[in-house]
């Protein structure tokens, strides 16, 4: 600890504030104006992880944040460094991931003069962040850093960017630790309205075909245990969104998989026919609801969310509850327990036939991986990963078909195991997110499931794996295509595939060897399990390139603009000839 009477640099103060906020590491990339910061890191215990691109610093910080629930930290220099963060910031904003991004800015006197590597980071990132700051005075720095952490991690989490002028880093001042922050206009809802929660309990008892629709809010609020109590006590079926997977253990009998565009038949039919949706930490995203006017036409909606602006945004609920979903569920569960004996049997018969109906849907169109003896099906790969994980490994994913198959077939029996880019769908997320997650949880087996397209967007991060000895298992579902785009061209553009063939994919064995670790390509179904086992047994990073059948498509599928009950449950005709 530094003494409070001596002069310290702004850079040093920043590091002290990060320590006080519990930050363990910074994912970053240095540059001209952040030189004073890196100079301060030279003899400071704060860990810095040098990634190979700033976007990946931002994604890694998010992988870290999702795996732990703590605020992830990333850092970039001014100008190009800061602009490279933009995709990552929007990604974090869409998925409500708590990160603090530190960027360097040109010296305060030069701001606005088109100085070398100057960009209006504050302006550019205004709409990419939950909040952002420009620090021009050293005296403001500690306060702002603590505010940034508080804003990022509380309420509905999100990215906060702090743009710091170079002279603030290098300036010297006495450091007086800040003990309190005051943001009078920042409201963090906590307990929901008790009267509303009582009404929710009543509606739940009265419902004949209730369903829980749980999302990322369950994960960020740490509400899994309460969610589980709710679905068990009232015996309600529950669907978890792409962002909510693991909120209820995948193996839980009440879990009816994921709803939406590539959701299961049972989940989508359940949402269509329910008479009561208990929506918990969700935002009625279009990828879940399909055509809004056809979504859950018979249902009343109870919507619990910490962000008041989500309530009524897409679907007007009969019962809104603004609050922290964990606190609300605690209270709701308590009220349900108190009120149970009087009325719980009221709808027993209706509830039984509702469950019967749901089980029937599940049997009718189960989510079952396609497996072939002739070629490796992508679904086969993810189900092998699932087998090795047993619901316990961390799995990050990139964006595309492989992401949807991963979400469909890999079990997550705890929260914070499934890490993907949901709202923004940013390709290139999978590998850097795995880096962040592996730093966060060195004890965990971490798979990065990526497509051959997205993998090539983050390929430089292979060096980071080696650099830090991170034993991430990168599994490429290599279909030779920008598969998800090909699927849409095939189904909705008359099979006029254009700009989706990925020629020139590197030899993975040589690629990994060039970086100094093991890589392997498999193409025969019988090679798959042993290769994956070899990857898991390898103490270091592993790059497994799986040549999967090129023409497989993700089903079920709700065509964009259709109601979610209008699912295409399987492939129409084979339309593409395998290469």
């Amino acid at each position: 600890m530094m003494s409070t009477s001596s002069l310290v640099s702004g850079a040093r103060m920043l590091l002290e504030c990060l320590v006080r906020e519990g930050a363990e590491c910074i994912f970053g990339y240095p540059g001209g104006v952040t030189l004073p910061l890196y100079d301060a890191m030279y003899d400071h215990p704060m860990r810095h992880v040098l990634v190979r691109h700033e976007e990946n610093a931002c994604f890694a910080a998010q992988g870290y944040a999702i795996a732990t629930g703590r605020v992830g930290v990333c850092c970039a220099t001014s100008g190009p460094g800061a602009t490279n963060l933009v995709t990552g910031l929007v990604n974090g904003l869409m998925d409500s991931t708590p990160i603090v991004a530190i960027t360097g800015q040109v010296a305060s006197k030069l701001i606005g003069s088109d100085a070398f590597q100057e960009a209006d980071t504050f302006g550019i990132t205004r709409s990419c962040t939950k909040h952002n700051y420009l620090v021009k005075n050293l005296a403001d720095l500690p306060q702002i850093i603590h505010e940034a952490f508080y804003i990022a991690g509380s309420g509905r989490p999100g990215p906060v960017l702090v743009d710091i002028a170079k002279d603030v880093f290098s300036g010297q001042s006495r450091y007086a630790p800040v003990s309190a922050i005051h943001l009078p206009g920042y409201k963090v809802p906590s307990d929901g309205h008790t009267g509303q929660i009582r009404r929710a309990a009543q509606m739940i008892w009265e419902a004949r075909r209730p369903i829980v629709y749980a999302g990322g809010g369950i994960i960020s609020a740490g509400a899994s245990a309460e969610l589980r109590r709710l679905v068990e006590f009232v015996d309600i079926p529950a669907v978890c969104t792409l962002m909510g997977l693991g909120g209820l253990p995948s193996e839980h009998p009440n879990f009816i998989s994921m709803p939406g565009m590539h959701g299961s038949y049972a989940a989508n039919m359940g949402l269509t026919q329910t008479d009561l949706i208990i929506a918990l930490g969700v935002r009625f995203d279009d990828r879940v609801t399909g055509r809004l006017s056809a979504f859950a036409p018979h249902a009343k909606v109870i919507h619990v969310d910490i962000d008041p602006s989500e309530i009524g945004k897409n679907r007007i609920p009969e019962l809104p509850i603004v609050g922290d979903v964990r606190r609300v569920l605690e209270k709701l569960n308590q009220i349900l327990a108190e009120t149970a004996p009087a009325i719980s049997t009221q709808n027993a018969a209706a509830r039984r036939s509702w469950w019967h109906q749901i089980r029937e849907w599940q049997e009718q169109y189960p989510l079952k991986p396609v497996i072939s003896e002739a070629e490796i099906k992508p679904q086969h790969v993810v189900s092998e990963i699932d087998r090795l994980s047993g619901g316990k490994a961390i799995v990050t994913s990139d964006v595309g078909q492989h992401q949807m198959w991963s979400a469909q077939f890999i079990r997550f029996n705890e929260p914070r195991l499934w890490i993907n880019s949901g709202g923004l769908g940013s390709m290139g997320f999978g590998l850097p997110a795995a880096i962040g997650a592996q730093f966060a949880r060195p004890d965990k087996l971490v798979f990065a499931v990526v497509g051959d397209g997205g993998f090539q967007m983050s390929i430089p991060e292979l060096a980071t794996l080696v650099n830090y000895g991170l034993p991430v298992k990168v599994v490429i579902l290599n279909n030779g295509y920008l598969g998800m785009v090909r699927q849409w061209q095939e189904l909705f553009y008359n099979n006029r595939t254009c700009a989706v063939e990925l020629e020139g994919f590197p030899d993975v064995q040589k690629l990994a060897a060039a970086y100094g670790f093991t890589g392997r390509t498999v193409e025969k179904p019988h090679e798959l399990a042993p290769a994956l086992q070899e990857a898991v047994d390898d103490p270091g990073p592993y790059l497994l390139n799986v040549r999967v059948s090129p023409c497989e498509n993700v089903f079920p599928m709700v065509p964009a603009g259709s109601g979610i009950s209008e699912m295409v449950v399987g492939p129409p005709q084979p339309v593409l000839v395998p290469k």
Binding site: E21, G22, R126, H131, A180, P184, G185, Y186, A221, D307
Partner: protein, 185 residues
């Protein structure tokens, strides 16, 4: 339909940009916007007039309240409020029309703030429709230049903003640990 939004905001850099950002992100065109310090110099009062789809009005307000720098946001479109706008007009006034113009100005309660051989500068305050009329009338006297202030409005319902109290630093860390059970390393 035009919506009148009244905001109490922290007087901080970027606050205006965040607020207009809520509107521009949806492609809304701002009709008028006024902003000035309140009695407390750390705060500003803002009145925005904007064409918002009626079904989205309350959402827009909620999205503004969500901004860290916004202490209070209210929709005054249909609530009890008074609204005024000011206009400054420069009108050419040759000798033969001067008396007529002054008479007309008086009807609208406008004041002369500058007078010269070429003409007058007039100041009028009122609701926007009244100012429209005033400008029309003045235009009938010849070439005219007008600058409007944009609407300023005040609610008659005196609702106190609900402010959050200070929180100790690092309080997020503890809360997150509680939530996740992952100890902080």
């Amino acid at each position: 339909m035009l919506q009148v939004i009244s905001l109490l905001v922290e007087n901080k850099p970027g606050a205006l940009m965040r607020i207009t950002g809520v509107l521009t992100a949806r492609g809304y065109n701002i009709e008028s916007l006024t902003v000035a310090r309140t009695l407390d110099p750390a705060l500003s009062h803002m009145t925005i007039v904007v064409d918002v789809d009626p079904s989205l009005r309350s959402l827009v307000i909620k999205q503004m309240i969500k901004l860290i720098n916004v202490l209070q946001a209210s929709d005054l479109t249909e609530s009890r409020a008074v609204a005024r706008e000011m206009v400054l007009v420069r009108v050419k006034a040759p000798v033969d029309r001067r008396t007529a113009i002054l008479k007309e100005a008086e009807i609208f309660g406008a004041r002369v703030i500058d007078s010269s051989v070429e003409g007058f500068a007039l100041e009028a305050t009122g609701d926007p429709e009244k100012l429209d009329e005033f400008i029309d009338v003045m235009r009938s006297y010849g070439e005219l230049d007008a600058t409007r202030s944009g609407l300023v409005a005040i609610s008659l319902e005196g609702k106190k903003p609900r402010l959050s109290p200070p929180v100790p630093t690092g309080s997020g860390v503890e809360k997150l640990e509680q939530k996740t059970g992952v100890p902080n390393g």
